[in-house]
């Protein structure tokens, strides 16, 4: 899951000459089955970073199965019919048996009060035994072991609202290993150890959400801000959904969304593009093409008044304010990005100066556009952490006063230029990292249809005027687009 709160992701852009230099090093190609590759040649060190961007996220979780995209991401590390097993054939039969018994158990449960308790107990016992049997064939964590032993670093994956991403880096002479491992896990995933991994995923939710005041507050915010759109569910899913996820249901999910046309790969490092193309055809060519999946059709209806939600916690006060804003591809997005930096980018930003430094009422006051993600209309987020002896109410008022000023008068030219300069320099700094490039180029390709947007976005930023900033502040940062989530002390003192 990637919902960074304190680290704000900047929008991107760069100077034109950097782009033309850089463009020469970038190759893009599409396999006949629809899978797209973007390759950046950076020969300065014999290493390479790979990033698989699958255009499926928690917004695509089926009904009653929130957390499925995330669950599948975990399963993608379980191996293939040959990697991760001691006996592929026997294991296959054992996994089928697990599902057969689980189906029977669910059938019995569906009888409700007429269900036989004895039969339920019996089936539960049989299911446990079947799971243990299937697990007995597993060579645990073999997929990870092979990669780590080969010098793979940064091996991980994340599931966001919009996308699921898989990534690591290798010494560049071992790039073929990545092709083998990555293609096989998406060609032939085996959903082994599904029900143990389900417990792990449940633990992840306990760690990130249930045991963290900040996590709980984010969950409260989005579940109230969005009444219809699936941005209302955290990528990890709801506890009861997770506890009922089935391997049986992960199969159609995988078939729908892990089609080659829905996958974009970024590779950056000391590689030969011609060889990458040949390896891609050999290893990923066999993935059968499939139709592109349905997008989310649910559109969040207009909000007709401020919404407020609280969570009780003994922790110190926190507040999140989310304003409904359009998707990241909307023409107003560059102006919203600039607005966000004016408010909280760096030490000269309005909120830092006024709330943290001068009035000293906040420990932190930050903003973030495109929250929780950018593919669909989301939120412009304001995050407030009051200083000791200062209330949430006082902080909320101060934040509104700053926003109102931006709505009343255009921002001065010096401030606007400063923000644009920062965006430009930020992009140049990003070019220095293989893993950063491998991650960003596919994301831009998917969002805008062209990785060059990573660089040409600066032109859109340059066109933003003070009037634009004022206009988007007036249009979007309004009371009836607002949802406020904050903590309150438990009634009757600490629990």
């Amino acid at each position: 899951m990637r919902i960074p709160l304190l680290v704000l992701a900047l929008p991107l852009a760069v100077a034109a000459q950097s782009l033309s230099d850089f463009e020469k090093k970038v190759t893009g190609f599409t396999l006949p089955n629809g899978m797209h590759f973007i390759v950046v040649q950076r020969p300065s060190a014999p290493v390479v970073s790979m990033h698989t961007y699958v255009n499926v996220g928690s917004v695509d979780d089926p009904k009653g199965q929130t957390g499925m995209a995330h669950m599948f991401e975990h399963m993608a590390f379980k191996g293939t019919p040959r990697i991760g097993t001691r006996n592929g054939a026997a294991e296959k039969a054992a996994l089928a048996e697990v599902e057969r018994i689980y189906d029977q158990l669910e059938q019995e449960r569906r009888k409700g009060r007429a269900a036989s308790q004895a039969r339920l107990a019996d089936l539960e016992k049989t299911l446990r035994a079947a799971i243990e049997k299937a697990n007995s064939f597993v060579e645990p964590n073999e997929f990870d072991r092979i990669i780590e032993e080969s010098g793979g670093v940064g091996l991980n994956a994340s599931t966001g609202m919009d996308a699921t991403e898989y990534y690591y880096s290798l010494p560049s002479n071992r790039i073929e290993l990545w092709f083998l491992m990555e293609s096989q896990r998406f060609l032939n995933p085996v959903l082994r150890e599904f029900y143990k991994e389900r417990d792990v995923v449940r633990e992840e939710r306990r760690m990130r959400i249930e045991s963290s005041p900040q996590g709980k507050l984010v969950e409260a915010l989005i579940s109230v801000a969005f009444s219809a759109h699936p941005y209302r569910n955290m990528p990890g899913g709801w506890a009861s959904d997770i506890e009922n996820l089935r391997a049986r249901d992960a199969v159609p999910f995988y078939r729908n969304y892990y089609t080659p046309g829905n996958i974009t790969i970024g590779i950056a490092g000391d590689v030969d593009p011609a060889r990458i193309k040949a390896l891609a055809a050999r290893y990923f060519g066999p993935l059968p093409p499939g139709p592109l999946p349905d997008p989310v059709v649910t559109v969040e209806p207009p909000q007709e008044g401020e919404r407020r939600v609280t969570i009780e916690t003994a922790a110190q006060p926190l507040m999140l304010i989310g304003y409904k804003t359009p998707a990241e591809t909307h023409p107003d997005s560059p102006a919203i990005d600039v607005l966000s930096l004016i408010l909280s980018g760096g030490r000269t930003s309005l909120m830092y100066r006024e709330m943290v430094q001068d009035k000293k009422i906040a420990l932190a006051a930050q903003t973030q556009p495109d929250f929780p993600d950018g593919k669909y209309p989301g939120l412009f987020l304001v995050f407030l952490v009051p200083a000791m002896g200062h209330s949430l109410e006082e902080n909320e008022k101060a934040a509104y006063a700053i926003i109102e000023r931006l709505q009343k008068e255009p921002v001065d030219a010096a401030t606007l230029n400063r923000v644009k300069t920062q965006i430009r320099a930020g992009l140049v700094r990003r070019l220095a990292s293989n893993s950063g490039l491998a991650a960003q180029l596919p994301a831009y390709h998917v969002a805008y249809g062209d990785w060059r947007k990573l660089f040409t976005a600066i032109e859109d930023i340059d066109k933003v005027t003070a009037e634009d900033v004022q206009r988007v502040a007036k249009t979007y940062l309004t009371k009836n687009r607002r949802t406020v989530a904050h903590t309150v002390a438990p009634e009757g003192g600490a629990k």
């Binding site: 590390f77 057969r100 633990e203 760690m207 110190q316």
Partner: protein
Amino acid sequence: MLTSVCLAQAPAARQATPAMPMPAGLKYPPLKPVVIPEPAVVKLSNGMRVYLLENHELPLVSGVALVRTGNLFDPADKRGLADMTGTVMRSGGAKSKSGEQIDLELENIAASVESSIGETSGSVSFSSLRENAGRVLELMRDIMQDPEFRADKVDLAKRQYRGAISRRNDEASDIAGREFASIVYGRDNPYGWQIEYEHIDRIRREDLQAFHQRYFFPANVMLAVYGDFDTAAMKQQLEKIFGEWKAQQPPVPPFPKPPDAFSPGVYLAVKPDVTQSFLQLGHWGGTLRDPDYPALEVAANILGSGFSSRLVNRVRTQLGYAYNVGAAWGANYNHRGLFQISGSTKSATTVETLQVIREEVEKMRALEVTPRELETAKQTILNGFVFNFDSPSKTLSRLLQYEYHGYPKDFLFQYQKAVAAVTRADVLRVAKQYWSPDKLTILAVGNPKEFGKPLNTLGPVRAIDLTIPEPPRETKATPDSLKQGAALRERMREAMGSLAKLSAVRDLSRSVEMAVAGGPAPGMKIRQRTLLLRPNILRQEQELPFGKVIVYSDGQTGWLSAPQGMQPMSPPVLEQVRGEMFRTLPWLLSEEGLQANLVGPGAIEISSAAGAARLEIDDLSGLPKRMIYSAPGASAAPDARIVETFSDWRDVGGIQLPFAITVEQGGKKFGDMTVSELRINSDLKAEELAKKP
């Protein structure tokens, strides 16, 4: 209904796939040789050492000045001073420009200068587009050489600090990491102590100025610059910018060493509002210099680094107990780090998870690892070695760190060679030698009400008090505070039993073992048997290294018997005995006629002619969690205070009594008392207690 979850055979097209090699069957070309850049090293006329490394890939220049200082030099009463100095150097501006002016100038050119002071070093770093490098270096110099520490920014930093202190118990994972370090390093030294409101309140602008002056001088600075410049021109430019800085100071002394002793055991910090427990296990780590460091890295890798380690395999993959579990052999450059196993699991499986982790550590000490495990761990380190050189700036910063800490330039290559030579026997040997089961300390942060098995399954449990001490202030009794104090005392009485049950305690006999941690005789163990008969008779027998000591008193008079002979009780000892009687928990809470005054949130003070004691309630259980009182005869200064922290509560004849007590004096740990036997109303006779040896 689908009968198989093995997807390989589902769509027909996929069966036609040509056979793919297995990973082991792949042949790789040799890795291209790594080009390791050689930085230019120069000394400026003022003694400052400079390291320069050109790189023209991007039009950027960046760098860092490393300064020999650190928060290990914080004074005990002004903890946080080093860190605050690092913060306000930058925010408080230089003589020439205010912090805000510098902010504006830097951000206008998308550059940055930041300063900070950590545990064993301070740093001032910068980053700039090529064309602005000269100007940014000048600003960096001003911040380093002439910081103004403007008062409003000192005030801001202090407020930020207080805010951070007030929030330090909000996230359970933060608590676990912090408290574990405090347990192992101890709370009385800069490695393990905590910064409290009182320390921040004491820090003044002059303190920051003095701290800066002592440590920021050219001979104490190493400056590394990296990026798009010409080395010869940069040398000249740096001489011009920094050459006039002539400050001198005596060489900085070595850092204090962490103490050797700590109190291993099982610790609990209660955090009621979580569904997971955050766990830490471990003890001392080592240093990078240790010849066994490479073998320990391999051993820790097999135990718990990466997705294919034993801990991930067992705790996460097989049991599904945790999302997050792992181990690290903590090695620092020049002082011992922390050997640390961390994880988090749902409250109900807290104890099981800890047991499994302990078993896995034991297995590492009992049997050699498999050849394949050894190979995987070594190959992971050796094949990933090239990532140490994937950017030239890594080479530069490594060189700087090695020089700063006095390590050989080729340390990393020595390490590589040593890892390649590690054997299974080495792994077993270092696991046996360095991972010590009797020192293995366990910390659980979570909600013990939800633990499946009680934590004391693992051993006697010591409570960690997370209360954030308020700055000291006056407390006066008002009708209201007395009323609230009485209510709080009533809650404690109910939690321990009831007023009736506590009042009915006529006598109490208790055997304890005290492991002395501090004071004049650290490491000493004292066995103590105490017999108390209400209202005022006490007999205490102690086994000391030099013999047996017996103390008897009836509250008015008494005697003391030691191997040297008998003597009447002196008035100070008598006063001590009276205090002890007064503070005996069932009596302190049930004695008639004593007032309980509310003196803070969840804290009451009960006083009589025999003394005064502050009791703090554990909000979850209602039991007293700490008792604080002044050592008799000592001044009322805070450092003379004795703090007893109670845990391991058990039922004794219908009332709850603590079986583990941690004693601190003047903020330093004095010792741990473990009760081996505790009885009430066993019909003690005054004559027997008075019997002379």
